[in-house]
């Protein structure tokens, strides 16, 4: 099983911990800096040298969702509630669809190989390796022709296909890892093929399916190019709005921008920790799994 992070070679003591801690904190510094800035007041955020000890404030997080746009005016909703909902809704729905279609296909590819099985798998992987910018040109035209631009249906259909190659390769790698002897034994006992899938194979890959789901949701949550060109004001996702925000009037408000980024990345950082053991498989689409 792919588990490099849990199977180190040899042992070292606290000395190595100290060295690794120094390196890790320097490496993580850009993220840490943004998270700290999110809790700072405007003065603290721009202070030099950088303040590491300060009185934290939550006002930046409040103004992500409500803030006064005109000097002295009443606080108004900024629409970020909707954008966060969109990111979650579009991500969740499309990944669920991709996982259902993908699991069926993965089981097929793994247990009932077609003629030219590898060729199909290769072509499926190629669609995912393809630069998104190439696919988006015709898709942009077609979305306009069929009136799908700015609709939930359009972007969810697109993201379903976007997540499908990943789901197939990933779930297939989990099916491939299973011990075939159990299935053969069940088949001997006269179990039907559907029962075999439902009662024996599927329960063994539940954890893998969960990992695939979370991974794909992160990929979708992070996706920028498709969302930039194909979502409208009502279906816009968080990364698109963040990038639009830097160009705008609040671009100079570092606390606010950092608070936004923090809300956007914290779920990803936490989930990464939970997924640590599946990370290698996930980032290589299940092509490497030792």
């Amino acid at each position: 099983m792919a588990n490099p992070s849990n199977r180190p070679i040899g042992k070292s003591g606290w000395g190595r911990t100290l060295g690794a801690a120094a390196v890790s904190i320097v490496y993580f510094f850009p993220v840490l800096y943004i998270i700290l800035t999110a809790f700072k007041t405007r003065q603290d955020a721009l202070a030099w040298p950088v303040k590491f000890i300060f009185t934290p404030t939550l006002e930046n997080f409040v103004s992500v969702f409500y803030r006064t746009t005109v000097e002295g005016g009443a606080a108004e909703a900024t629409g970020f509630g909707l954008y966060f909902f969109n990111s979650m809704f579009i991500g969740g729905t499309s990944v669920l669809l991709a996982l259902i279609i993908g699991t069926a296909a993965a089981y097929g590819f793994s247990r009932f190989p077609l003629r030219g099985n590898e060729t199909y798998l290769f072509m499926i992987l190629t669609t995912r390796m393809m630069p998104p910018i190439i696919a988006i040109i015709p898709i942009f035209v077609l979305f306009r022709i069929f009136g799908l631009s700015g609709t939930y249906v359009g972007i969810i259909a697109l993201y379903t296909a976007f997540n499908l190659p990943f789901s197939i390769w990933m779930v297939k790698s989990f099916f491939d890892d299973l011990d075939r002897d159990i299935e053969d034994a069940a088949r001997m006992d006269g179990s039907s093929e559907f029962r075999l899938f439902r009662k024996i194979c599927l329960p063994q890959v539940y954890a893998g399916l969960a990992a695939t789901f979370v991974f794909a949701v992160i990929l979708t949550w992070n996706e920028f190019v498709f969302a930039l060109l194909l979502t409208g004001t009502q279906t816009r996702t968080v990364p698109v709005q963040i990038v639009r925000t830097i160009g705008g009037a609040i671009g100079v408000d570092w606390g606010l921008l950092s608070a936004l980024e923090t809300l956007f990345i914290i779920p990803v950082v936490l989930v990464t920790f939970a997924l640590q053991n599946q990370l290698l498989r996930g980032v290589t689409f299940g092509t490497i799994r030792r």
């Binding site: 180190p8 199909y120 696919a135 296909a161 197939i168 949550w221 920028f224 490497i288």
Partner: protein, 321 residues
């Protein structure tokens, strides 16, 4: 919407056998053992054909026309191979490929070195290792656009962290994104920061696959550290390093978000990569036909690289250990 060409799925199904027992009817025929594979795979293939392949064919067609996506009603005009001939003789396109190559070489090289060193650091067990590893692995999972925003803040000329830090030492203002060289280095650093953990993960996988007895044998033979690395460790991580190199080359070749957010291709067009240029041609100048043609040239490059990657994976699977 046009229905997917059935010829795409046809080769998948085995030659249709006459129904064994007509009593079970159509569903019995559908669910026959030899049709299980195709049946399970069909929905996925259909989805990919409709959402991926069909648009690609569409843009294949468009690449022979002069067409503007802004005016859908205006009919495209046939230019034959004009777009391709134009592109191949265009200095701008060549320059964009060079920009991309420069960023790919710089970034992948840095990633391999940093990733390798990080992997060595984390190759042994020590207290709190799991938690520290999380801090190092986090950048890889972040959104590319978010990383662009991060570094935009760090590089900001007057208030950014890095210009202010440099000014402490030199006493002069330091504007990172002002010259082509500095801007390219800035992009390479951002990208390498994000993806070195990926290389680390692959190298770690290689390091743990080395059988322990080899090190024990080397211990007995009193082999030095360098010799141990060269004769034992390196052969085991070699194939994974190659995979990391190819995978990162493919991915960096596509670099868009970070550049788009950080420099928008500037100053001038010095950091405009092929993806950013494609975006510009397609959605700022709206030369949809020309963009489609360029997309096909780029796609060809990616397919070549992907084939190499898959070839490397298959070779690796075949080798023992």
């Amino acid at each position: 919407m046009t229905s997917p060409p059935s010829s795409q799925t046809a080769p998948a199904s085995p030659p249709a056998a006459p129904p064994a027992r007509s009593a079970r009817g159509f569903f019995g025929w559908m669910l026959a053992p030899e049709r299980r594979g195709p049946l399970l795979v069909a929905p996925a293939i259909a989805t990919l054909v409709i959402v991926n392949l069909f648009p690609l064919m569409w843009s294949y067609g468009l690449s022979f026309f002069s067409y503007n996506a802004k005016y859908l009603k205006r009919p495209p005009s046939w230019v034959g191979l004009g777009n391709f001939i134009d592109l191949f003789s265009d200095v701008d396109v060549w320059e964009r490929f060079q920009n991309t190559a420069l960023i790919v070489i710089g970034s992948v090289f840095l990633q391999l070195i940093i990733g390798f060193l990080l992997a060595l650091l984390f190759s042994t067990e020590f207290p709190l290792r799991r938690y520290l590893l999380m801090l190092v692995l986090a950048p890889m999972m972040l959104s590319l656009s978010a990383v662009g925003v991060f570094f935009k803040l760090f590089y900001e000329p007057t208030l950014g962290f890095i210009p202010r830090l440099v000014q402490e030492f030199t006493g002069e203002p330091f504007v990172i994104l002002s010259t082509p060289t500095k801007a390219t280095i800035a992009i390479v650093c951002a990208d390498a920061w994000m993806w070195s953990p990926f290389v680390m993960l692959l190298v770690l996988a290689g390091l743990v696959s080395v059988p322990k007895y080899l090190y024990e044998a080397a211990e007995i033979d009193r082999a030095g550290a360098w010799r141990r690395f060269r004769t034992i460790t390196f052969p085991y991580i070699k194939s994974l390093l190659l995979l990391a190199l190819l995978f990162r080359t493919i991915e960096t070749f596509k670099i868009f978000d970070v550049v788009y957010v950080l420099t928008e291709g500037g100053p001038g067009s010095s950091t405009e990569t092929i993806s950013v240029y494609l975006f510009r041609v397609a959605f700022n100048y709206f030369q949809t036909g020309r963009a489609s043609a360029l997309g096909y040239i780029t796609l060809f490059a990616v397919i070549v690289l992907t084939s190499l990657y898959l070839y490397a994976i298959n070779t690796r699977r075949a080798e023992p250990g």
